[in-house]
Symmetry: C2
Subunit: 217 residues, 2 copies
């Protein structure tokens, strides 16, 4: 059987990612423990792990809260994502096998077909978001850099980043899908400069779609 601490960790994590916990909600160890019928020990471990990932903030003797992110945080996150995922494309392109290219192409097709159906349906947006994550994750995996993957992971687990498509306009969605298709074409052509440039543009476009105009600071 899996460790209890890991189970707790995953439960709290998905709860945060799905936005089921309100912003900066207090996470009391005892409460979580009794609600799950376990002791505080594994709860503590899970919370510390989430803190290390940046999903919760803990202050000494004051406990843990769900982390929250302001506009400046999101700007930082998308800026870094644009750099790191672009780099992933650069590394992945010369390594890409025919099978991997085909895999990415299939996801593009699936997403395009999904986008043509009624988007107001409950199931469409999650389906798109899931495939989007697979698409980006696959390219990161293809980059063959464990640490690059880990760095990106620590960035994108912020709820708003996970739920990107929820705030997309139809035009933004179309542009996003075109970017995906163009990235695969660039990789197919073995052109890592092209591929990485489109990826960078793709993430920065998402940034603007979510944040609106750049803040002057």
């Amino acid at each position: 059987m899996a460790k209890i601490a890991t189970t707790v960790y995953e439960q709290i994590r998905t709860a945060i990612l799905n936005g089921e916990l309100s912003n900066s909600e207090r996470l009391v160890e005892e409460d979580l423990a009794v609600s799950m019928g376990i002791s505080r020990t594994p709860v503590r471990e899970a919370l510390r792990r989430l803190a290390a990932e940046g999903l919760v903030d803990v202050s000494p003797n004051r406990g843990a809260r769900v982390a929250e992110w302001d506009v400046h945080d999101l700007r930082e996150i998308f800026d870094l994502r644009s750099i790191l995922e672009s780099h992933a494309c650069e590394l992945a392109t010369p390594r890409a096998s025919a099978a991997e290219i085909e895999f990415l192409e299939n996801i593009c097709t699936e997403m395009e077909e999904l986008a043509e159906t009624d988007l107001s349906s409950e199931t469409r947006l999650p389906a798109l978001a899931a495939r989007n994550r697979i698409f980006h994750g696959k390219i990161i995996e293809m980059s063959n850099s464990t640490r690059l993957g880990l760095l990106i992971e620590t960035l994108i687990h912020v709820p708003i980043v996970m739920q990107t498509y929820k705030v997309y306009s139809p035009e933004a969605l179309q542009r996003s899908l075109h970017h995906h298709r163009e990235i695969v074409n660039a990789m197919k052509a073995g052109d890592e400069v092209w591929a990485s440039s489109v990826m960078r543009a793709h993430v920065l476009a998402a940034r603007e779609e979510i944040l609106g105009q750049p803040d002057p600071e």
Copy 2:
């Protein structure tokens, strides 16, 4: 008084960073606890924290070991450092104040003076390494991106990266100091492309100095 867990964390951490613990040495909770006269609980917390940072590896029911890094790991680390620190330069340049430029210039001067003295002395290399860390840290701080700082931090705490200068040839050291000076000059001129390019070259040069020629894979 500070939390015991934090104290333990720092002790183990510096022990690893100073290379006082042999590679992949087992870290038994009970042993560490009794040797410090405390219970296992804070030791556990410290070990999990170090695991999240990548300084130790933990396997379920099998405990923690000091992490070790092979050539491929180091290559990944320096590649990512080159990208992220270069980005830090890009962000820092337009924000740099006169005082900050002067601060960096002073470090450059100090390091140049240290390099002219007898390098075989016990104290010279640590003094250089400390100033090197301050130099890079200052630029990261000037970039004003909390997350960028955190990402870089998780990369550079690997012992070999911390102790870079220990393996430098005199020529490599000179080149490194020239890079530092050039970076400051570029920032002073407000040229973020120049500054970030030199920084990228600076880190990639360090990579080659430490790893030798690129592995063909």
